[in-house]
C-alpha cells in the first residue's frame, strides 16, 4: 500500500449551538481547548500523524477564523507540495446553484469533484468536535485486511448509557449486522464514534443515488449506513479504547479541560510519538509572580499569574492579577481576571475581562457558567 491513498474529510459544519456564545464568532472546531489548542487540532494532528496528506474541512458557518486557522497547513506539517488542508464551503457549479449542505452525506456529495481530484482509494470521514488521539492508518489496515466496504470506529460505553448513542450490533466476527440510533433496549454497548472509512468507489455510487432521493436526510447514520446494511455490504466495527471525549456542551468542554489536570492523564498530550500540533504564541513563557499561588494548574506560554489559580486551565496570554482567585475554571486565550476578582466553576471565553473585585460563579453551581462578556468590576 502506498501512502496517500486515503483522503480525510472533517465534518465541521455544525454551529455547535449547545456551546452557546463560544461559537458566535468561530465555528465549533475552532473553539479553544486545553490551554493552547483548538478542537480541530485533534483530527488534523491525528491525520498528519497517520500519514494522511490531504484533508478537507467541510463547513458553512463562520468559516473565516477556521479558514485562516486551518489554511496554514504548516502547523500540522500538512504543507508539502502534495499535501494540504482545504476548507470546503458550499459553492455554485456549472449545473447547480449555491446551496447549503443538507446533511453529513450531502456535504460529502457536494464535494465529490474535490475528492475525485486526488483519486483516493479510501475516504475517511471524521467529526470536528471530539478530543482523542487515534491512528487512522491502523483502522485502514483493518478495513483492508477484512475486505470491508465500510469500517466504523466504535467504543464501548456503559450498557446503561448505551441508549444515548448510536449502537452497532455485531456478530462474532465483528461484522456489523444492525445499527440502532439511541435504542430503548440496546443489544450491545458499542457506540459509533462518527468515524468512518469507506472504499471510495463504493461510497461514491451510494452518494450519487442518495443525492437524488427526495426522502433522504442525506445523513451517514440515518441513510448511508442503513442502505449499506440493507444491501448486505460488509461493514465492520473497529474498536477504540483510549481517551475520547465529545466536547459539544459547555459542561463536557469544561470536563475535558479538567481531565488534563489529572495525574493519570489518559490523553497524554506530551507523548512525543503522537504530538498534537497547534499554533504557538510569540510570547514569553508562563510568568508566575512573586506572590502567586498555584495548585493543580495546567498552563501555557504567555500566561501571567500573580494571584491564585487552583484546579484550573489557563490558556495562552490569560492573566490572573494580584489578589484574584481562579478556581475550577478554564480561562480561554486572552481572558483576564483583574485584581481581587474571584471566578469559580466557569469557562471564561476568549478576550473576556473579569473586572476588579467581581465574583463570578460558585463552588456549588450545578452547571458550569460560561462567561462570554466582560464583567464589570466592583469598586
Amino acid at each position: 500500500m502506498k501512502q496517500g491513498n486515503m483522503l480525510a474529510m472533517i465534518l465541521a459544519g455544525g454551529r455547535g449551538s449547545r456551546l452557546h456564545e463560544l461559537t458566535d464568532k468561530v465555528a465549533k472546531p475552532a473553539v479553544s481547548y486545553g490551554g493552547k489548542y483548538r478542537i480541530v487540532d485533534f483530527p488534523l494532528s491525528n491525520c498528519a500523524n497517520s500519514g494522511i496528506n490531504i484533508v478537507g474541512v467541510l463547513t458553512q458557518y463562520e468559516s473565516v477564523l477556521l479558514n485562516s486557522y486551518v489554511a496554514a497547513g504548516s502547523r500540522w506539517g500538512l504543507d508539502s507540495d502534495d499535501a494540504g488542508v482545504f476548507v470546503l464551503t458550499p459553492r455554485e457549479k456549472a449545473d447547480s446553484g449555491l446551496d447549503v449542505y443538507r446533511g453529513t452525506a450531502d456535504a460529502i456529495s457536494q464535494n465529490i469533484d474535490f475528492i475525485d481530484q486526488y483519486n483516493p482509494e479510501y475516504l475517511l470521514i471524521l467529526s470536528g468536535d471530539h478530543i482523542y488521539k487515534m491512528n487512522y492508518d491502523k483502522m485502514l489496515q483493518a478495513h483492508i485486511e477484512q475486505g470491508a466496504n465500510a469500517t466504523i470506529a466504535v467504543r464501548p460505553v456503559p450498557i446503561k448509557e448505551a441508549s444515548r448513542f448510536g449502537i452497532m450490533n455485531t456478530n462474532e466476527d465483528g461484522d456489523i449486522v444492525e445499527f440502532e440510533e439511541k435504542p430503548a433496549h440496546p443489544k450491545s454497548n458499542l457506540a459509533s464514534m462518527g468515524i468512518y472509512i469507506f472504499t471510495w468507489k463504493d461510497l461514491r455510487k451510494l452518494l450519487i443515488s442518495d443525492m437524488k432521493d427526495p426522502d433522504s436526510d442525506h445523513d451517514f447514520g440515518k441513510n448511508i449506513i442503513p442502505t449499506m446494511l440493507a444491501e448486505n455490504k460488509k461493514l465492520i466495527a473497529y474498536r477504540f479504547e483510549g481517551y475520547w471525549k465529545d466536547v459539544g456542551t459547555i459542561d463536557s468542554l469544561w470536563e475535558a479541560n479538567m481531565d488534563l489536570l489529572d495525574e493519570k492523564d489518559e490523553l497524554d498530550l506530551s507523548d512525543p510519538t503522537w504530538r498534537i500540533y497547534s499554533e504557538d504564541a510569540s510570547s514569553l513563557p508562563a510568568y508566575i509572580g512573586p506572590d502567586a499561588v498555584l495548585d493543580r494548574v495546567y498552563l501555557t506560554q504567555g500566561t501571567q499569574v500573580e494571584g491564585t489559580a487552583k484546579n484550573s486551565v489557563l490558556s495562552t496570554l490569560s492573566q490572573v492579577k494580584a489578589g484574584a482567585k481562579v478556581i475550577d475554571t478554564v480561562l480561554m486565550p486572552n481572558a483576564k481576571v483583574e485584581e481581587g476578582a474571584t471566578v469559580t466553576r466557569a469557562i471564561v471565553a476568549s478576550g473576556v475581562k473579569i473586572g476588579k473585585g467581581a465574583v463570578v460563579g460558585s463552588a456549588d453551581s450545578e452547571n458550569i457558567i460560561l462567561v462570554s462578556k466582560n464583567v464589570k468590576g466592583v469598586e
Binding site: L260, L284, A286, D295, V297, Y298, T300, Q301
Partner: protein
C-alpha cells in the same frame, strides 16, 4: 515598501566564550528564557523592521542553527523575493586566530556583491535587545555619516561586558574611540556590535581589513580607522533592555533579569513579536504539591516541587520535594525528587537524581553539562 538594506547576523566571534554551553552549539543557538534561542532576537528585529533579506553566517556546529532557522518561515522571512540565507564558513582548525567575521565575508563575497540593497545592517548573534532598524536606517541616511554604530550606556562595566568593546562618543555623537573594555570604569558606552553602512563601503572595509591583517575582525579594523579619523562615524545610543551573552555569568544573569516585569515588558511589546520555531510542546502541569514563585516556566513541564526565581525550559520535570532556586534550567532536564539546586545552569537532558544538593551563588553560578547524570 522595498527595504533599502539587507541584514547580516554574524557568526560567533572568537572572544565570546560561554563555558560549557558553547561546546555543544554556537552562541546564537543558546536557549534563552526557556523557549527562545538568542539568535531569535536579532532576526526578529530585522523581520519586524521590514528588512527581509538576511544573511546568517555559520561557523562551528552549523546544524543547530540550520535546523532552528530552516527556511525562515517562523520569522516571516521565506517570501520568494527576500529570504533568510545561511552561509557556511570554513572553520579554521589550524589556528583559531584566522576565524574572523572578515574571513566569513570573504568566503561569500560574491553573494554580498549580488544583493541589490544599498545599505547593510550588521547585528551580532549573541546580543539580546529590541531595535527598530528601519528608523535607525532612516536616521543614518539623514545624518550623512559613513557609519552608524549602536551603543548602550552601562554603569557596571568594571565587572561586566568585559568581552565587549567600549566606545568614546563626543557631544556631536561622533565616535572618537573603540577599544576592548578593560574594566577600568563603571560607566561606559558598550558597542553593541551593531552598525549600518553602505554595502559598497562595507565591502571596501572587508577587503581593506584582509589586507591589513588576516586575523583582524571588522571591529578591530574600525578601532584603527576611528583613530585615523578617516570616516565620519556616528554613535547612536540604544535604550531599553540590553544583554550581551558572551560568558557563562552573562548568560545566567541575562536570563534571570527578565523575571523583572519591567525588563520583560521592554523586550516583548505588542506588534514587535519575537519569533521562534515551534516545538509543539504541550502546556505545563503544576501539581498540588508544587510551589512556584517569581519564575518563568516554558511549555511541556511537570512541576511537583518548588521553583523560585528561576527560568525553566521546555519539558523539564521537577520532582516532589525538589527545590530549584535562582536557576536556569534548559529543555528536557530532570530534577529528581528531593533534590535541591541553587544558582545553577542545568544544560539540556541533564538528570540530577542521585546528587541531592548543588549550591552555587548568583555571583558564581554552577554549570551542569548536557545529558550528564548526577
Amino acid at each position: 515598501m522595498a527595504a533599502k538594506a539587507f541584514g547580516i547576523v554574524t557568526s560567533t566571534p572568537r572572544r565570546v566564550n560561554v563555558y560549557g554551553l558553547q561546546d555543544y552549539r554556537p552562541a546564537g543557538a543558546f536557549t534563552f528564557i526557556g523557549k527562545f534561542r538568542v539568535i531569535d532576537f536579532p532576526i526578529s528585529n530585522f523581520s519586524n523592521s521590514g528588512i527581509k533579506n538576511i544573511q546568517v553566517y555559520l561557523n562551528k556546529h552549523p546544524k543547530a542553527l540550520t535546523d532552528h532557522l530552516g527556511t525562515g518561515r517562523s520569522y516571516n522571512l521565506n517570501s520568494k523575493r527576500d529570504r533568510l540565507q545561511l552561509f557556511y564558513c570554513n572553520h579554521h582548525m589550524e589556528n583559531e586566530v584566522y576565524n574572523t567575521d572578515v574571513s566569513d565575508y570573504l568566503d561569500n563575497l560574491h553573494h554580498l556583491e549580488d544583493l541589490p540593497q544599498e545599505y547593510v545592517i550588521i547585528a551580532p548573534c549573541y546580543m539580546v535587545y529590541k531595535q527598530d532598524f528601519s528608523t535607525l536606517l532612516d536616521d543614518h541616511i539623514l545624518s550623512g555619516a559613513d557609519i552608524t554604530m549602536l551603543y548602550h550606556r552601562v554603569n557596571n562595566a568594571r565587572d561586566h561586558f568585559l568581552n565587549c568593546r567600549v566606545m568614546g562618543v563626543d557631544q556631536d555623537q561622533m565616535v572618537t574611540s573603540l577599544e576592548i573594555n578593560r574594566g577600568n570604569r563603571q560607566n561606559q558606552c558598550v558597542f553593541m556590535d551593531t552598525y549600518i553602512l553602505k554595502k559598497s563601503l562595507f565591502i571596501d572595509l572587508v577587503q581593506r581589513t584582509a589586507k591589513y591583517s588576516s586575523t583582524y575582525s571588522l571591529s578591530q579594523m574600525l578601532s584603527v580607522l576611528i583613530k585615523r579619523e578617516e570616516y565620519e562615524i556616528r554613535g547612536v545610543q540604544h535604550k531599553g533592555f540590553f544583554a550581551s551573552v558572551d560568558d557563562l555569568q552573562s548568560y545566567y544573569e541575562s536570563n534571570l533579569s527578565l523575571l523583572d516585569p519591567k525588563n520583560a515588558r521592554d523586550l516583548f511589546q505588542d506588534g514587535w513579536w519575537i519569533y521562534t520555531r515551534t516545538t509543539d510542546s504541550n502546556p505545563s502541569r503544576i501539581y498540588d504539591t508544587a510551589t512556584v514563585k517569581n519564575s518563568m516556566i516554558a511549555n511541556g513541564c511537570q512541576v511537583e516541587g518548588t521553583v523560585e526565581n528561576s527560568v525553566v525550559g521546555r519539558a523539564v520535570h521537577i520532582g516532589k520535594g525538589a527545590v530549584v532556586r535562582n536557576c536556569v534550567i534548559l529543555d528536557h532536564a530532570r530534577i529528581g525528587d528531593g533534590v535541591t539546586l541553587d544558582s545553577q545552569i542545568v544544560d539540556k537532558y541533564a538528570q540530577i537524581i542521585r546528587t541531592k544538593e548543588i549550591i552555587g551563588t548568583p555571583g558564581q553560578p554552577g554549570y551542569v553539562h548536557r545529558a550528564d547524570r548526577l
